[in-house]
C-alpha cells in the first residue's frame, strides 16, 4: 500500500502540470496529504515486529535480461524516512501557497522531488534505487534556477553539479557491486561476500558519492549556497529530505554492501563528520544572512548523522536515523520562518537589518515558531533534536569517545549561533542601523496585504512543530521501529 505514495505523487506531479493555474496548488496539497495519510495509516497499522526486516512490498521483473526488478520494500528505517518525507512535503506545499507565476511548473518540479524521495526510501533494487536517486537532481535545478532568489543560477548549477558529481561515484560503486555479485537485489547483495580488496576501494567511492548529498565536509559547500538561492519550498525540501537521501543511501547501500570496507574507513568518516560539525557551526556563527546561518546549521546537523553512522553501534545508528527525521522537520521549520514568514514580509534576511525591526511584536507567531525550531535545533530536552543527538553521542561513546568529547564541546557552538540568530532576528533590544519601528514594517510596499501570518503558513508550521515535539517527548515512537531494523543490518555483526 505504501508504494502508492510514489504513484500518487508522480501522478499528482503530472496532473498539476495539466490543471488550470489556480487549481495547481490544491492539486499539490491533495497529493502530498494523500501521501502523508497513506504513510500514517501504514505507520499505525504495521506491527512493529514486521519492520525489523526489509520486507518486500512489490516485486515485478523489469528488465529480466539484466536482472533488474521493480522491487520495493520497507523496514523501520525506510518507514521513518517516508514519514518525514510526507510531513515535509505537506508543509512545503503549504508554505508555497502564494507562489505567483508558473505555479503549474513549480508544483510539478516540487512533487517530482518528493516522489523521487519516496522512491529512494522504498527501493530494494539497486538500479531502481539509483533511478530515483538521480531523478531528484534535475527538478532541484529548475526549482532553484526559475523560482529562487539571491544568486539563484549560480546556486542552482553548483548544487546540481555537486549532486551529479557524487552521483558519478555512486554509479561506479553500483556498477562494480552489480558486476561482481551479478545481482541488483539489495537483499541478495547484502548477503554477498565481496572480496576484501574490492571493498577497500569500492566502499569509499560509493560512500563518498552519497556523502556529497549528505553535506560531508569538505564537499558541503553546495548546501549553504543552494539553500540560500532556493525558494523557501526548495530549501525546505533540500534540507529536509534531499540531504537525507545521501545519509540514508550511505547506510542502506554503502555500509550494508561493503561492511569490511566500512570498518576500514569508518574512523576517517568520523574525523570528517566531527570537523563538519565544528567547522559548520563556527562558520554559522559569523554569517550575516539568516538563511546562510540555517544553511550551515544543516551541514552541522548532518555531521551528527554521519558521526552516528560511522560509530556503528546499534544505538548510534538508530540515533542517526532519528536525527535524519528530526533535522528534516527542524530544518524545514527554520527555513519556513526565515524564507517565508520573515523574508516575504521584510524583503531582507540580513540579521543587522532585522535587528531593527522588532519583529517579535509584529509577527508573534513567527517568533513563536522560530523559538520552537531553535530550541529543537540546539538540542533542548523535550524536542526531537535532543533525543536524536543524545542517542548518537551515547551510542558513539563506546567506539569513539574522543569524537564524542569534541562534539559535545562543539554543541556549545551550535547553541551559540542559534541563539545569536534568534536574538538578532526577533528579540534585538538594541536596534542598529535601521530605525526601530512599531507596528508595520515600511520596507515592503506590499506589506499591507499580508501583515498577518496566513492560515496556510500556520497549518504548515503547526504540523512541523507537532512532529518535533511528539518525537522529542516520546522518541520511542520512532526508535522502537528503527532499532530492530538497524540491528538486523550486516555491518553491525
Amino acid at each position: 500500500m505504501i508504494a502508492w505514495t510514489i504513484y500518487i505523487t508522480v501522478a499528482g506531479a503530472v496532473l498539476s502540470l495539466l490543471v488550470p493555474r489556480v487549481v495547481a496548488r490544491w492539486m499539490a496539497l491533495l497529493t502530498t496529504i494523500a501521501g502523508l495519510a497513506l504513510t500514517l495509516v501504514m505507520f499505525v497499522r504495521t506491527p512493529i515486529e514486521n519492520l525489523a526486516h526489509f520486507t518486500t512490498i512489490v516485486r515485478v521483473p523489469w528488465v529480466p535480461a539484466l536482472g533488474m526488478n521493480y522491487h520495493l520494500a520497507i523496514d523501520g528505517v525506510s518507514l521513518t524516512m517516508v514519514l518525514v518525507t510526507g510531513i515535509s512535503a505537506v508543509s512545503t506545499v503549504l508554505f508555497s501557497w502564494d507562489v505567483e507565476d508558473r505555479q503549474n511548473e513549480f508544483f510539478f518540479w516540487l512533487l517530482l522531488v518528493v516522489g523521487g524521495c519516496y522512491g529512494v526510501f522504498l527501493s530494494a533494487d539497486l538500479f531502481l534505487f539509483f533511478v530515483f536517486y538521480e531523478l531528484v537532481i534535475v527538478p532541484k535545478y529548475f526549482l532553484i534556477a526559475i523560482f529562487g532568489s539571491t544568486n539563484k543560477e549560480y546556486g542552482a548549477m553548483k548544487l546540481t553539479l555537486y549532486s551529479f558529481f557524487g552521483g558519478m561515484f555512486v554509479f561506479v560503486g553500483i556498477l562494480v557491486a552489480y558486476v561482481t555479485a551479478g545481482s541488483l537485489d539489495l537483499g541478495q547483495l547484502s548477503e554477498f561476500q565481496f572480496p576484501p580488496h574490492l571493498q577497500t576501494w569500492a566502499f569509499p567511492v560509493l560512500f563518498l558519492g552519497f556523502a556529497v548529498l549528505a553535506g560531508i565536509w569538505p564537499l558541503h559547500t553546495w548546501a549553504p549556497t543552494g539553500h540560500v538561492a532556493a525558494p523557501t519550498a526548495g530549501s525546505m525540501l533540500l534540507a529536509g529530505i534531499v540531504m537525507k537521501l545521501g545519509s540514508y543511501a550511505g547506510l542502506r547501500v554503502a555500509m550494508n554492501l561493503f561492511p569490511q570496507g566500512f570498518q576500514m574507513w569508518s574512523k576517517w568518516i568520523v574525523v570528517l563528520a566531527v570537523i563538519g560539525i565544528i567547522y559548520a557551526a563556527a562558520v554559522a556563527l559569523r554569517q550575516g544572512d539568516l538563511k546562510f546561518v540555517i544553511g550551515y546549521s544543516s551541514v552541522s546537523h548532518m555531521g551528527f548523522v554521519l558521526l552516528g553512522l560511522a560509530a556503528a553501534t546499534s544505538l548510534s545508528v538508530s540515533g542517526a536515523v532519528l536525527q535524519m527525521f528530526s533535522h528534516g522537520v527542524i530544518a524545514a521549520l527554520l527555513f519556513a520562518v526565515a524564507g517565508r514568514m520573515i523574508y516575504r514580509r521584510t524583503h531582507t534576511r540580513e540579521l543587522d537589518a532585522l535587528a531593527g525591526m522588532n519583529l517579535s511584536r509584529i509577527l508573534p507567531f513567527a517568533a513563536f515558531a522560530f523559538v520552537i525550531a531553535s530550541a529543537a535545533s540546539m538540542g533542548i530536552p523535550g524536542f526531537s533534536g535532543f533525543a536524536a543527538e543524545i542517542t548518537i553521542l551515547i551510542g558513539a561513546w563506546k567506539t569513539y569517545p574522543v569524537a564524542v568529547w569534541i562534539t559535545g564541546a562543539g554543541m556549545v557552538l551550535v547553541a551559540a549561533f542559534t541563539l545569536r540568530a534568534l536574538k538578532q532576528s526577533f528579540f534585538a533590544d538594541k536596534p542598529e542601523g535601521v530605525r526601530a519601528q512599531e507596528g508595520r514594517v515600511a520596507l515592503d510596499p506590499d506589506w499591507n496585504e499580508q501583515d498577518s501570518i496566513t492560515v496556510a503558513e500556520k497549518c504548515g508550521a503547526c504540523l512541523l512543530m507537532f512532529a518535533t515535539l511528539a518525537v522529542g517527548i516520546y522518541p520511542k515512537l520512532l526508535l522502537d521501529r528503527i532499532m530492530p531494523a538497524v540491528e538486523t543490518m550486516r555491518f553491525l555483526k
Binding site: 539484466l66 534556477a145 553539479l161 561506479v172 556498477l175 562494480v176
Partner: protein
C-alpha cells in the same frame, strides 16, 4: 536462384527506390519561376499554391513508400543469404532496417512544410536514396557491398547537406562533409584492399576464418586501422570529427537530423559487424595493464578521446546545433565502449544506445528546426523563453536534453547503465574501469551544457520584441513528430525491455 526470388528478398530496398523515382517524377511537374523572372518573390500566387500541393503530395508519397517498405521488411523470411553475404537477411538486419526506415520517416515528416520549399521532390528523393544506402549497409556482410552502401549513403548525404542554395553555411557544410567523407572513403577502401590482400576474400565470415590462423602482422594492423579510420570519420569519432560541427550547423535541419541519426545507426551496425564478425580473431584487449594489440585498443583510444574532446569543446559552444554536434562526438565515444567490450552483450548495448541516441537527436533537431523557423537562428538566445512561447516544445526539448545527459527515467540513462555494466562485465578484473571512468566523467561534464540549453529555455525570458510569429499556429505535423519521439524516449526509459530484449534476442 530465380529473379523473382531475388526480387522478393530485396523488396524493401526496391520499394524505396521506386518511391524515390516516383517522388522525383512528381517533383518535376511543379512549375518553377523562369530564370528571367528571377527569385521566388515574384511567383504568381496560383503557381505557389500549386507547388505547395505538389510538395505535399511528394511528402505523402515518400512517407507512404517508407511505410510500405517497412511492411515489406516484415514479410521477409527470417534468414537468407545471397551471393556469399552480399545481402544477408537476419532478424537483426531486419530490425535495423525497420529502425532506419523509421528514422527516415521522421526526417520526411520534419522536412514536410506548408510554405513549399523549392525542389521538394528532389530533396525527398535524395532522402529516400540515402535510406536505400542505409538499408544496404545494414543488410550486408560483405566488404564490397558495404562500401557501395557507404558511398550511396555518403553521396546522398553530401547533397542533402548542401541543399539550401540560398545559405552560404549550407554550401560550406556540404563541401566540408564531402571533402572529409571522400577522404574517409579512400581510407576505408585502402583498408579493405589490404584486408582482401591478406585473406583473399571479402565476405566477413570468410575473413574471420582466414584471420584465425594468422597473428597480427604489420600489414594486417595497417589494414584494420585504415578501415577503422574510415568508419571513425563516419561516426565522427575524435580526432576525425572536424566535419561534424559545420555539417550539423550549416546543413538544412532535416538533413542534419538524418546525418546525425540514420547514418550513425547504420555505421555502428556495420562497424560492429566488421569488427565483431570479420575481425573477431584479432580483437586484442583494452584492459588496463593488459593491453593486447588488436582492434579493441584502437577503438578504446578513439572512444576515450571522443568523450573527452566532444564534451570539453561542447562546453564552449553557444550555438545549439554546434553543441549537438560536439555532444554527438562524445556519444559516439560512449557507443564505441560497447564495441570495445565486444561479444553479444557489448554489441547489443552499443546498438541499443545508438538507436535511442538517434531517436533523441532527430527529436532535438525537430525542435531546433521549429525554433529556427520561428526566430531565424539557433543560438542559445533564440531559445530564450521557449517555455512560455511553446510549453510543448520546451517540454520535449527538456526530455531530449536530459536523456542525452543520462538522467533517469529517460532512455539515455538506461542506455548508459547498460553500456557501462556490459563493459565492466566483459573485462576480467574490472579492466575497462578506466574507460567507464572516463565516460562517467564525460557525462558529468555534459550535464552542464545540456542544462545551459534548458536554462535558456526555462529560466531566461524571451526578448521583448514581439514580432515573432507564435509557435502555436501551424506546424502540426512537426510538433506531432517531435512529441511522438519525446514519448518514445520516455517510454524506452521506463520500459527499456521492449527494445533492449528485442535487440539482445536478434544479435547472433
Amino acid at each position: 536462384m530465380s529473379y523473382l526470388e531475388l526480387l522478393k528478398l530485396v523488396s524493401p530496398e526496391a520499394m524505396v527506390v521506386i518511391t524515390a523515382l516516383l517522388v522525383l517524377a512528381i517533383g518535376l511537374t511543379s512549375r518553377r519561376a523562369t530564370a528571367v523572372t528571377g527569385v521566388s518573390s515574384v511567383r504568381p500566387p496560383t503557381r505557389a499554391a500549386e507547388n505547395t500541393a505538389v510538395a505535399g503530395l511528394c511528402s505523402f508519397m515518400a512517407a507512404a513508400g517508407l511505410v510500405i517498405a517497412a511492411i515489406a521488411v516484415f514479410m521477409l523470411p527470417r534468414n537468407a543469404t545471397l551471393f556469399g553475404g552480399m545481402l544477408v537477411i537476419t532478424p537483426l538486419n531486419s530490425l535495423f532496417k525497420i529502425i532506419c526506415i523509421a528514422l527516415a520517416f521522421s526526417t520526411v515528416l520534419l522536412a514536410a512544410s506548408k510554405n513549399a520549399p523549392r525542389h521538394a521532390g528532389e530533396y525527398l528523393a535524395i532522402v529516400l536514396l540515402a535510406t536505400v544506402g542505409l538499408m544496404l549497409l545494414v543488410g550486408s556482410e560483405e566488404l564490397l557491398m558495404i562500401f557501395i552502401g557507404l558511398e550511396l549513403l555518403g553521396l546522398s548525404l553530401y547533397v542533402m547537406a548542401a541543399f539550401d542554395k540560398s545559405d552560404i553555411r549550407s554550401a560550406e557544410a556540404g563541401l566540408k562533409y564531402f571533402l572529409f567523407g571522400s577522404t574517409s572513403s579512400a581510407f576505408t577502401l585502402f583498408g579493405i584492399s589490404l584486408i582482401y590482400g591478406m585473406s583473399g576474400t571479402t565476405g566477413l565470415v570468410a575473413i574471420s576464418q582466414k584471420l584465425a590462423t594468422t597473428s597480427v602482422q604489420p600489414l594486417l594492423a595497417v589494414g584494420i586501422v585504415m578501415t577503422l579510420v574510415g568508419f571513425a570519420f563516419k561516426i565522427a569519432a575524435a580526432p576525425f570529427h572536424l566535419w561534424a560541427p559545420d555539417a550539423y550547423q550549416g546543413a538544412p535541419v532535416p538533413s542534419a537530423a538524418f546525418i546525425a541519426s540514420g547514418s550513425k545507426v547504420a555505421s555502428f551496425v556495420v562497424l560492429g559487424k566488421i569488427v565483431l564478425i570479420g575481425f573477431a580473431p584479432v580483437q586484442g584487449s583494452a584492459n588496463w595493464h593488459a593491453l593486447i594489440a588488436g582492434w579493441s585498443p584502437v577503438l578504446a583510444a578513439l572512444a576515450a578521446l571522443s568523450i573527452v574532446v566532444g564534451n570539453l569543446v561542447a562546453l564552449a559552444q553557444t550555438n545549439v546545433r554546434r553543441l549537438l554536434a560536439y555532444s554527438a562526438v562524445a556519444h559516439g565515444g560512449y557507443t564505441l565502449i560497447g564495441l570495445v567490450a565486444g561479444g553479444r552483450d557489448g554489441f547489443s548495448a552499443a546498438l541499443f544506445y545508438t538507436t535511442i541516441y538517434a531517436i533523441t537527436l532527430v527529436g532535438a533537431f525537430g525542435v531546433v528546426g521549429l525554433v529556427r523557423r520561428e526566430t531565424g537562428g539557433d543560438d542559445y538566445s533564440n531559445f530564450y523563453g521557449l517555455a512560455s512561447r511553446s510549453p510543448l516544445l520546451a517540454g520535449c526539448m527538456a526530455i531530449f536534453m536530459l536523456s542525452l545527459a543520462g538522467i533517469p527515467p529517460l532512455a539515455g540513462f538506461f542506455g548508459k547503465f547498460y553500456l557501462f555494466s556490459v563493459a565492466l562485465h566483459a573485462s576480467a578484473n574490472h579492466g575497462l574501469l578506466w574507460l567507464v571512468g572516463v565516460a562517467l566523467l564525460g557525462s558529468f561534464i555534459s550535464l552542464y551544457y545540456y542544462l545551459m540549453v534548458l536554462r535558456a529555455i526555462f529560466v531566461e525570458k524571451s526578448a521583448p520584441e514581439t514580432d515573432r510569429r507564435s509557435l502555436s499556429t501551424d506546424r502540426f505535423l512537426q510538433k506531432l513528430t517531435v512529441s511522438v519521439l519525446a514519448a518514445a524516449v520516455l517510454i524506452l526509459g521506463v520500459m527499456p525491455d521492449i527494445l533492449a530484449a528485442r535487440i539482445l534476442a536478434t544479435v547472433p
